[in-house]
Each structure stands twice: as C-alpha cells, then as structure tokens.
Symmetry: C3
Subunit: 441 residues, 3 copies
C-alpha cells in the first residue's frame, strides 16, 4: 500500500467504457492494418506490430531464421515487392497490387514466360465462389503460385503469359510483439492473437484489434493479475514464444486466444484442454448471464493457437474466443473476409465479453465466513434487505475457504458481479475475510 492515488479497478473500467467509441476505434485499427501483406515472417508482419504499437507499446522480438523451437525451426524470412500475370502485350491481368491475396503466401520467386497450361497449374481459384480470391499459403514446401477468382482464372485464355513473383526467401528473422502489463501478482493472464494473415479481416485483424484495445485499457488501470499480450504468427509463433518463455508459461493462470471476433455471428468459446479451468468457467458464467445465444465447445486439437498452448507438455488453461469459427462462414480465407464483414458493435461485444470475464478472474477469491454456526444476524448490521440481491446468505453459507465466489455463483445462479459486491458488503461488516491460503490474493 503506498500513498499514490489508487488507479481504477477493472470493474470501474468495465462500468465506464463507451461501446460505440471502442467499436469505432477497433474498426479504425483494422482499416489501417488491412492493406498490409503479412505472412509468418517479413516486413508486413513487422509493420503490423509497429502500427499496433501506437495503440499499446509493444516490445518487438526478432528470432533468427534457423533457430530451433521444440520440433520446429524458424523458417526463412519472406518478403515481396510485386507480382503479376501479364499477357504478351504486357497488360497485367492479375496484379498483387490490387490484392495481396493474389500471391500464394510464402511463394517462391519466379519470373518466366509460361504456357497457359503450365500457368493454370499454378493458379488457385474456388469455383464455388467465382468472384472471390481464395487465400492460400505454402510455408513449408517451396513452390510458386497465384490465387485468383474463378472468373479471372477462366479468363486466362491466351496461349502464353509472363509471370513475375518478385519475392525473396532469405535468412532473416521471425517477428512478434508483446506487451506485459504488471499487476499486483506475478501470476499471468495471457491474451494471444495471430498476426500473420494478409488482407483478411475477421481472421484475424479482428483479433489483433480487440487485443490491442484491451491492452491499451488494462494498461491504464490496476489489476490483480499481470497481463501479457502477444501478437505473433500462428503455429510457429506460439511454439517459438513457448520455447523462449518456459518460466513465464508456468506463471500463466488463465488465457485466451482471440480470432474471428469481428463478424456479426454469436460468440463461440472453445474450452481449454482442462475443460473446467477457471477461464472456462468464468467464460461460461459470463456468456450464460448475458442471456444471449452463444456456443461452448470442448477442446479439440484443431483451430487456432490454443493447440500449442494446450499441447500435452504445457496444457495451459487457455481457451479460444471467436464469433463465427474459422471454416464456418463462407468468406473465411477469401477476399470476401474484408472490411464489410467487420461490425463495430460485434467488435465491441467481443471486447465487453472478454472484459466481463476478466472481471470475474480479477475478483474471484475464496472467503472464510466469520460466523459459521447459524446465520449471522444481518438485521442488526443493516444488511437484511440486501441479502437477496447480493446473495449474502449464499456467500455466508458456502464461504468455507473451499468455495470461490465463482463456485458460489455457479451453485446459486446469482450473477458473479452481484456476489462480488455482496462479498465486499460482508467484508465491510467483518462477516467475511479473504482466505489466507488463497494462492493469489
């Protein structure tokens, strides 16, 4: 306890935030990041981290090509200047400048005149959506290719074309950014989001924007937990991070992977591999109390980067928050996953849902009732009329040092937020005391 003015708590923050403003700010950040050509390494990723750093200061990390990380090796750094398919007259039929999805992510360079037949073997399209350019990449098998809409591909009717992919694959480094926001405890909450997709909004500029704004606001308040935000390329990113942060990983008590959090769909939460970790239960409570449709799914070793955090050797209590999951909306991994799909109110709702969940984590403690034999006499303490609303009798009856406030919320059906206030009221009259054996207080 020092004499400095106390900063706001997370619940204060939750109470005063303006959803419209937050939604607009996230949408703006997405718009700023949209044009960049990101990949798992390279300047596009680096520039993305720099832009995010304007919202919340990030420490940028560079991990050299060839660095081993568990079963993996950091690949070469990929950069690209231009790419096109031109007809014999020099007219560019398909041009990277128009849409960075036109080039296979991590494509090898090429500059050649090729027959129509050969070219078509190197042009991916999706006949099911003839106007959309699909997103493809090939990180671990070197090849060159373009992606185009089915209509564009069908229009390649000349005998020969000039193709150019002016990319480089060289020794360099893999970049990621992190922001560590110290709290009262060294125990950590990790928020992780992948930052390696090119011009695709929901997957995952939405996750970047929500994480960035969360970090910005949490940085301004006091928290019980230390919060760590990481922005990194998917799969290889968390594998690299984990390999370099074994001790920090052991301090993670809760975590979330954010992806696809900006579309109009309902919220989907994928539980951690532990299935009933505190983050899983907190998220369930918040979603159920919201009264709005949502979906809870069990862990599966598919999906986003929780696969790495929840790998056998780590098994961290980290879930994944999405709205419409990857592969379950038609625009997924196509040029139609664009700014039109981003709804400021959906972004704000994702933000608010996470914030509510963090409120639960921050305030979830175990208490010990001071009067355990019979009810205490609430009437003479002026609390009897508040007992129902704030679940005071539930708190008194179950605060044996084994039940947390979240346990009591689940048992009673009383919203966690009400119980948290109730616990404060009961502490004020010395009917509850924090459990001294609580690991984090």
């Amino acid at each position: 306890m020092n004499s400095a003015p106390q900063r706001q708590s997370i619940r204060d923050l939750s109470g005063r935030l303006d959803a419209d403003q937050i939604g607009a700010e996230m949408h703006e950040l997405i718009r700023a990041l949209y044009p960049l050509c990101r990949s798992i390494t390279g300047e596009g990723l680096r520039e993305t981290l720099r832009i995010v750093g304007r919202t919340v200061p990030l420490e940028l990390r560079e991990v050299p090509t060839g660095t081993r990380a568990f079963d993996w090796v950091v690949p070469k750094e990929w950069n690209i200047k231009e790419a096109y398919i031109a007809d014999r007259s020099g007219r560019r039929i398909i041009d990277f400048k128009n849409c960075n999805l036109h080039v296979l992510g991590y494509s090898a360079p090429i500059r050649a005149r090729v027959s129509r037949r050969e070219l078509l073997e190197h042009v991916y399209a999706d006949p099911a959506h003839p106007d959309w350019i699909p997103y493809r990449n090939s990180y671990y098998k070197e090849q060159w290719a373009f992606c185009a809409s089915e209509k564009q591909r069908a229009a390649l009717t000349d005998e020969e074309y000039d193709v150019c992919i002016d990319s480089t694959l060289t020794d360099g480094s893999l970049s990621y950014g992190e922001a560590r926001l110290p709290g009262e405890s060294e125990r950590e909450v990790l928020i992780s989001t992948h930052a390696c997709h090119p011009s695709l909004c929901n997957d995952n500029l939405s996750g970047i924007a929500v994480a960035a704004l969360l970090a910005k606001h949490l940085r301004a308040i006091r928290t019980r937990y230390t919060y760590r935000f990481v922005f990194l390329p998917c799969t290889i990113g968390p594998i690299v991070w984990l390999s370099r942060n074994r001790e920090a990983a052991a301090r993670i008590d809760h975590g979330l992977v954010l992806a696809c959090v900006g579309d109009a769909g309902q919220i989907t939460y994928v539980r951690s591999r532990r299935d009933t970790a505190e983050i899983d239960r907190a998220m369930r409570h918040v979603l159920e109390q919201s009264g709005r449709p949502h979906e809870m799914r069990p862990f599966a070793p598919y999906g986003y980067d929780q696969r790495q955090y929840c790998s056998l050797g780590f098994n961290l209590p980290i879930g994944c928050l999405m709205r419409t999951p990857n592969d379950e909306y038609p625009e997924y991994h196509t040029s139609a996953d664009n700014l039109d799909l981003m709804k400021p109110e959906a972004l704000a709702d994702s933000f608010a849902t996470i914030l509510s969940t963090l409120c639960v984590l921050e305030d979830n403690r175990r208490y010990v009732a001071r009067v355990q034999h019979g009810e205490p006499h609430l009437g003479r303490r002026g609390l009897y009329h508040k007992a129902q609303e704030y679940g005071l009798f539930w708190l008194l009856n179950f605060s044996d040092g084994n039940h947390s406030v979240l346990d009591i919320a689940e048992k009673s059906g009383v919203p966690f937020e009400k119980l948290a206030i109730g616990a404060k009221l009961l502490q004020d009259v010395e009917l509850l005391a924090p459990d001294e054996t609580d690991a984090i207080r």
Copy 2:
C-alpha cells in the same frame, strides 16, 4: 436383550396405522392450537407447547432474554392482552379479539389518538387480496402496527382514531419444547418444526401437528435410532437450540424440518446442504416409489430452519419436507391460511411419507454375503421362487459391506421395503450377515 416382550418396530407401526384416524387427530390438534397468538417468545408459544404436551410429553425449556447464542441474543419476551382501532364513538373497527393477525407480531405497545394519516402509516394491508389480513412481524426493529384487509383499511375514513396495543416487551425468556425418544443407538434423528406463528394453519400448525403425532407413535415402539422432536420459534429457536446442544447435534445422523405439510398440494422436499445425505436419498426413494407427483429441490440458504442446521459450521444432514412451499400459495402469511386449507388426508399423507422414510433409515444397513463366489444355491434353501420379488440376487451380488440396502434399492429399482424383507430371508438362511463395521447396528 432383556426378556421383556419386544415392542413393535417402525415397520409394524407403518403397517397398522389408520390414515383417516391419524388425519382426524392432527386436524383436531390444529383446531385446538389455531386461536392462540404465538410469537417467538411469550405465553402464546408456551401455551402451544403445553397443548402439544398432551399428545406427546415435552420438556419445556426457557432461555432468558439476553442469553447469547452464536451471533444472536435472545430478545425480550412479548405478550399482548388486547389491541384495537376504535373510532371517536368508541366503536372498535379493527380488533385483535377477532383475529390475532390484526397486530404486527412483536408490536411495541401504544395507546394514543392519531390522525387518519398517521394511522394509515401503521396499517399494513394487501391490495392484491382485499379480503385477507396479511401477517407481518417486526422482531428486531421496535415499532407498532396493525394489519388489516384492504377493505378494512379503505374504510378508515374518519379524521381521527383511538389506537391501543396493550402489549409488553420485557425481560423474560424464549420457550421451546423437546421430546427425546431413546432408541437402541444414541445416534439421533431430529424432527424440527417452528411454533411461533399465530393463527396460520399451514405455516405452521400443520408441521406441529404432524411432528406431535409422529412423536406420539414413535414413543410407543422400539427404534434403532433415538428420535428427538423440537418445537421452537423459527431462526432464533434452532440457533438457541444448536448453541446449547453442540454434543447432541454431533449425534444427529438424519433430520427433517417440517413446515406447510397440511395443504392439498403435492409434496416438496428440499435436500440437505450435503445434497446426497442418507435422508435425502431415503426421501427420494420413498417419493419415487410412491408413484405420485412430487418435487425434489436442492438446498438453498433460504426457507425454513434447515438454514441454521445446514449452516457452514454444522452442515447437518437435515432436509425440509413441505407440501406447497412458503410463498408459493396465495394464502401464505395471510388470514386465508386457515382451517379450510387443512386437509386431513394431506396431513395423513405427509405423516405416512415421513414414516416410510424413517422405515428406510431404520432398516438401512450394510450386509456381507456369506457366499461371494458364484451365486449361492437358493433352490435347496427354498428361496428360489422368492428371489425376484425380494431382490435376493441383487442383495447377494452387492452385499460387499460397502453397499447399503438403500444403495441396492437405488441400483436395482427394487423397493427398499422388499429388499429389507429379502435381507431378513437371506439372514435366516445365513447367506447374509450384518456388516460388523456398520457404525450403527
């Protein structure tokens, strides 16, 4: 074992009781108790205990005002002689003589001429039921007030009235009664009922009547358990009892709080805080075997005196048996909770349900099968044709000393009563033996 003639067992009792007669007897007791003005202390409560004492001898306890009991203090003793609102002509518009609900329970005395306006601030009514007088009390905040039907209240149109509440709040004592019926074991079954409500039938003259008749009949038979019946004011009553009976409380293996057991509704059972205590499972078995509609509810720190018995420091295996729960029938805590609401057949059904449940508790033991390898040859013991009805193979297959008869009833779906007979048959041919490690035998 002495040579005196063996008294009947609880199952004999259960077999021979006449529901009509029991129902009529309980209804008569309710009629006798109805006119008394009870409260948490005072002569009305004391007289009630004396009348119950004619059905089953009670030890009356008096606990002086000011006695500490955990977080509580025994309040002053309240008594009342008369109370009325009279008009200027002296005509008594509202008179305690007509209905003791007219006075706020525990009301402070007053004798004054008051303006209409002031009076109305001291007259409670319920507009939703304009003919009924609500029941109100104020135990822990001193105030004076009347209760009246909405029609009566609306008729108070004069400018001034004379009000008189001739009550006293003085150092005295809190009264309760108990009957301890010794059984073979010192382990106890507690039946608790509150006796502090004035002229209200379902809540809780019905509980008093069922408890009194149960005690009367259990007193006449031999039982395995010791039975203790307590009739006491609610909340402060069990708190006082628990504070004075820590050792007896530790001997309680099972218990029931009885309230609202005389109306025509279906049975509602609220499980103990332990949720799967033997009493909870016995009650569930009996209710399910009854084939009639009923409701089981989990513990909540609301409702009747189980709140105190199930407080954290005691956590006794005590549930609450009701028919329609408090606050869920319109007549609750009004003058309409009167003799018309009391159904002799409902009282008898509550009585029989409890008796059946006590039969389970009395006969629930763990046995050890003498032949555990393969089935025993029932045919040569003349039992094969009884195997199905009495669940003999279930008993033999699960009597490993860990499964009680109730466990086997739950597992098999065979009624407990049949299995209890089956266990006797198998003991007679030495195929089962009581488990020597059974805590209570």
Copy 3:
C-alpha cells in the same frame, strides 16, 4: 520373436472374412447340433462338445457327480433313451422321438399306467401358444413330467394312459469343453457360452456356433491376448469352471457371454458389473460406430452366466452379448425357437461385431508422444494431409501414457480403427512410442 513367418493379426482377419460364408458355416453347425438332447450333464452335452470339436479342437473336462464347487455340488448325470405317452392301444400320442422338448429336462424315470387326471398333472403346456411345446426342466427337485403343445394336451381325453420315461440319474460327471488359444501375453479374454439346452436354436445353439467359429479363426492368427473359449452347462457350469480355475480367472482381462445371437433382432449388450470395463467401452464404441440400432443395458444379477463371472467374489470384466434377450421374444424356451429363427446374416453380424470388439481390445494401448511441447511438425514428415482422417493431432495431444487409444476414440469421436492406423503412422516416424508401463504390450 522367432524367424517363422508372421501370422495374420486380428485386423487382417477382420478385413478378409466373408460374412456369407461364415454365416452359412454357423448355420450348418446349428443344424448338426439341433437334434441332440442336451442337459446340464449327460451324453447329449458330451456329443455336442465332440461335434463342436470338429470346428475347433476342445479339451473335454469331466467333473464327477458330488464334486463341491463353492456353494454347489455337481449333480447326477442324466441320460435318456426314450419317453412317450401311449394310449391303451399302444399308440404313442406324445413321443420324445419327435421332439426332445417333450420330456421335462432332467426328468426322473417312470413307467406306469396312470389315470388321465394324474397324467395331466405331469404334462406342461402353454395355452398362450397352443401349437408350441414349452421347454421345462427340474434340475434340483426330482420329478417326472412331459411337455406338450396345448393342443396335444387337450387331446388327452382317454381315461388311462401308459407313460414311459426311460431316463437314468446316476453318479457320473458334468462335462464341459474348453479351447485355450495362447497369445503373446498370458492375460486372457474369455468367451463363454452355455451348451445345455436341448433342441432350442437361439438359446443357445447360436451362441455355440458363434463361439466355435470365432475360436476356429482366432486359432489361425497371432493375437496379443490369450483367448479361452468355454462351452458349458449354464449356472453350474461356470461355477464349476471358476472353482477349478481361480488362477486363470485372475488372468481374465475381458470377456463375453454369448447367448441368443442368431435371431433377426438388433444387438443387445449387457455391460459387466464394473459398468465401464474396457470390454464395455470397446463394445459401446463398436456398436456406436456401426451406426445401427442397438441397446446397451447395465449389469443386473439376472440373465446368463455373467451372473457367476460377475459374482461379488470375482467381479470379472465380462459382459453379455445377445440379439433379442431371453424372455423378450415369444419363441423363447419353446419348440418355436427352431432353425427358422436362425438367420445366417444375423449370426454373421454377431460374429463381426465381436470380432470388431476384439480388434479394439487387441490394439488398445497407451502411447507416449515423443514431442509434447507444441505440436510436432507433421508437414516435414509427410503426414500433415493424413492428420484429419487418422486423428493424428488427437493422438499426439492425448498420448501422455494415461490415455489409451480407446480413451482418445471416445474423446475425439474418431473411429478406433482410424486411430489405430494413425498410431502406427506416428510410431513409424517415431512421434509415438508404446507406454513402457502398459501392463500388457
């Protein structure tokens, strides 16, 4: 490991079997066994074992009359030459030659002239099915009787009849057969089927036929487990077997009792007393993966010989596989349980279901992932495109030495068979290793 050519595994066998041929072969065996008059002892049983021995070599055991087996004693050996009811003219009205069900199983001998009235007390019929001869026996109470169709019984209108049951009940022995097929491990799978019913097909020539063919085929392959098949009289049979094989019983890891496996009904599986034994879970997985209607039932101490294997002192992990259970089809224990009821395709389906279940048991192991921190890089091992079909990420994420392949199948919904292949693929690239602490490898 020797240098002999490796014999096929059970999964190879499962892949190459011809259902039509297997079904036909089982049907043929049933036809061969149908005419014999079996009982719990005697030549009919012995001859049955000899005929089964042509399909799979059996060791025949003879246990002398009077031998004690737990609570039981091996009864006298029963044999019968002929039996009939004849009218005064010598015409045989009811003749054992026509149907061996005509004589009460284990009937005492008789040769006498009896009145119609006396005779009828010794003739069982079933009025509900006037054309069918019921099957009755009296093993442990000596009496003589006939069974007849209701029509036959009603036609017994003469005043007197000559009755003859030329049976013997003498000191002899109880017979059973067993085939032990050694596997890599001494741990055993027991397949048990009763062989004591006379001309009744579903109960239980069907069980005999399926067991015999299973044994024939398992004998030709290499297996992890040792398989033991027993063909024995019901109740007394397994009791005798258990009493003489305490050590072998302790080596049983899984088992099945087979009965009523040849009718057209859906498969019914009765779980072992342990309820979640590996055999219970393997069977559930196979039945669920089949996508066809089936029923799973919990253990009950009724039904077939699992009652003995699952008796308290043994509690072996043995379930019971049936199609339509005993007593739930009208032809049960009547002359209508005949060859018409036997469906080759149903027999083959029962056979295939068991084989699939044995495949699970054979291949169910626990593995340890070699890369536990982060996912391994499947791409560079050429396995990425197989990950989905063979559940590779599931195997990698849960192979902590505690989860078996069956555990992972249940958790993931990926068919066990696919996971078993996946485990092989991952072992080939050294990403999985068998758990060294696995009890049976």
